[in-house]
Amino acid sequence: MERSEEAAEAGLSNRWPELLVALFLFVMGIIAVIDSIRVGIGWEEGEGPRAGYFPFYIGCILLASSGWILITALMKFKRAQPQFASWTELRSVMQMLVPLTIYVAAVVFLGIYLSSLVLIAFFMKVHGKFGWLATAITSIGVPLGAFLLFERWFLVPLPKGPIELMLGL
């Protein structure tokens, strides 16, 4: 699995991702510890351990372990590192991640049905080079199927937006 930096294709090395993820975990540890101290990590007479008692120690473990990862990552920062992913691979990931992010934002504002329709149609048309008919059938069929399955048969409402409201659904 692991490729060295001198591998055939250029790409992003593990250096920064490793460091940033460890840093993120460290910050989470700080958040946990600070808030635990706020709610109290001590012993309440007659009640027992306070709310922050357990999360405080969890936060400490998180700080210690992510700190360790951080230090090791910094120590070998200058050395050659295995490749995280090649630029081509990262571009493919972004081709999914960017539409996915827009999709999630769209679900918040437009509801799930219209957003799903656009997402599926976009992928089929742009990446799959499908004809209009196949694209239309799939991109309308999937949200419609979801509507029937969830709203009609299992009576689970899904998020709707202004368009569905206009149609009176």
């Binding site: 540890g29 946990a32 999360p55 999914m96 679900v107 799903s116 499908f130 899904l158």
Partner: protein, 498 residues
């Protein structure tokens, strides 16, 4: 023989016509989930969980556990036909399964995989049938301290047994516990780590984490690999099945060994993936012609499949008896039980015998039904896999989003799913294990409350954790597991000094 009577009663509960229908439905959905990239046992069940809320408890859990069997079977299809493991535990199956398919022996490879899965699961269910009631009776005597010690052992085993770096295992585990603590504290009612954000009041649901980490994360990984499905079509003829079965009898030693490895790794939270690799390694080491492994040796299909299913199934034993799931998928099943107000643990066996034995009986039936369904429907699944990823990918995203939303009818959860998805991808790439994170998120509240109860009992003294041999022994074992990764480093150090 009380177990046999109970089991017979269980069969009468499970054998109703609607329940058999749910079994077939569950198996079919499960295979679909196992075959599609980005949908796996754990997040597939998480997504389908809300659909079962309107169903009868026993039927619902029968269907969910059948989805689990189906997913286990489904992973093998993609490994053998397309060299794409649908599930992490079927990676080892690709080593010999795919070469077999390329030599035109796809039918034999699939039959071997399905039959071995069946054998592995069957022995694991036997283990559950006879061992689970005993474990449950024993665990009834557990107090809060013993419960915490068992949980401690579970988590320390992750550090000791995981292939990933121990510091990373520990870090994601602590992250899981921290996320579990967000929201209202169940004992005092204090708000923790919400920082005034209303959406955080109810905390992080592990179902969302599972859908994001395993579903979206997996889709991103699949994109990175630039997936193109180019595989063999498959049909299984009856004479191939019979011939393969006759051949499989010769590998009984490998089967038994793999069952043992699988059951052990399943009950302890080693999980199905390491079990399948271990069984493959053992089979190879024990074989006469080691060189034929990796080139289409049927034994190389039998060993990992048997072990993976034995592990996947026996992971339900600690889930049912102690309330501690042995795998992420078992954790999702546990979440399902909790939603229906069933608290897994020793009391479940005495309070809800109908449910427990119905579930165990359905494991036997589900496996038989599963074997028949997969053997007869393989060509269809192979056809589904020829649908390009530009269609499958966005459809799976839509399914994941719907699944994340329906858990609590919350849009915020859909956003969280995306965040967990990105971290799932990063964690996978940087070798952070995901299973401890999910289990910590599930067991966080439980572990915390048993810890606090123990502290209350002892008036704040940690000595309660070595107050009797049982709890002391469990704690000692936990620390051995926790410190296990230091052993090789220590050995290295001593050797360099000598």
């Amino acid at each position: 023989m009380e177990e046999l009577n109970n089991l017979m009663h269980g069969f009468s509960v499970a054998m109703t016509l609607p329940n058999l229908g749910f079994m077939v439905l569950g198996i079919t959905l499960g295979i679909l989930i196992g075959v599609l990239p980005g949908l796996g046992g754990a997040n597939g069940i998480a997504i389908l969980l809300p659909l079962t809320f309107s169903m009868d408890q026993t039927s619902a859990i029968i269907m969910l556990s059948c989805i689990y069997w189906g997913a286990l079977f489904g992973g093998a299809i993609t490994s053998i036909l397309f060299n794409i493991p649908g599930e992490p535990w079927s990676v080892a199956t690709t080593f010999d399964g795919y070469p077999m398919a390329q030599q035109g022996r796809a039918g034999a490879a699939l039959t071997a995989a399905f039959t071995s899965s069946f054998v592995g699961a069957f022995f694991a269910v036997l283990l559950i049938t006879f061992l689970a009631p005993m474990v449950a009776r024993f665990a009834l005597k557990f107090g809060a301290a013993e419960m915490f010690a068992v949980q401690m052992l579970t988590f320390c085993s992750f550090v000791g047994m995981s292939k990933e770096p121990p510091a990373k295992t520990l870090a994601v585990m602590a992250l899981g516990f921290a996320l579990a603590a967000v929201g209202m504290d169940t004992v005092t009612g204090t708000l923790r780590m919400t920082y005034g954000v209303t959406e955080l009041l109810k905390g992080f649901d592990f179902l969302i984490a599972v859908i994001g980490l395993f579903g979206i994360g997996e889709i991103l990984l699949t994109m990175e690999e630039g997936l193109a499905f180019k595989g063999k079509s498959a049909k299984i003829q009856l004479d191939v099945v019979l011939k393969t079965w006759a051949e499989l009898l010769r590998y009984w030693k490998t089967s038994i060994r793999s069952v043992l490895v699988g059951c052990w790794m399943g009950v302890t939270p080693g999980g199905a993936t390491p079990a399948s690799f271990m069984a493959y390694g053992l089979a190879r080491r024990g074989a006469k012609d080691k060189d034929s492994f990796g080139k289409g040796n049927i034994e190389g299909v039998v060993a990992p499949e048997t072990a993976a299913h034995a592990a996947g199934t026996s992971a339900l034993l600690p889930m049912l008896t102690l309330g501690i799931p042995g795998s992420p998928t078992a954790a999702v099943l546990l979440g399902g039980l909790l939603i229906w107000g069933l608290q897994p643990g020793p009391l479940l066996f005495t309070e809800k015998p109908d449910f427990v034995w119905g579930l165990i009986a359905s494991m036997y039936l589900g496996n038989i039904v599963g074997l028949i369904v997969v053997l007869t429907t393989v060509p269809w699944w192979a056809a589904i896999l020829r649908i390009p990823f530009s269609v499958i990918g966005p459809v799976i995203i839509v399914i994941c989003a719907i699944g994340a939303y329906t858990v609590h009818s919350s849009i915020f959860d859909v956003v969280m799913m995306l965040v967990f998805g990105v971290f799932g991808y990063l964690f996978k790439k940087l070798r952070y294990p995901l299973a401890p994170l999910v289990l910590a998120l599930v067991l966080g509240d439980m572990a915390e409350s048993s810890f606090r109860q123990s502290m209350l009992l002892s008036q704040g003294s940690l000595s309660i954790f070595w107050a009797n041999p049982l709890v002391g022994g469990l704690m000692a074992l936990s620390f051995v597991m926790l410190l296990w990764p230091i052993v090789p480093a220590l050995k290295h150090y001593l050797r360099s000094r000598a």
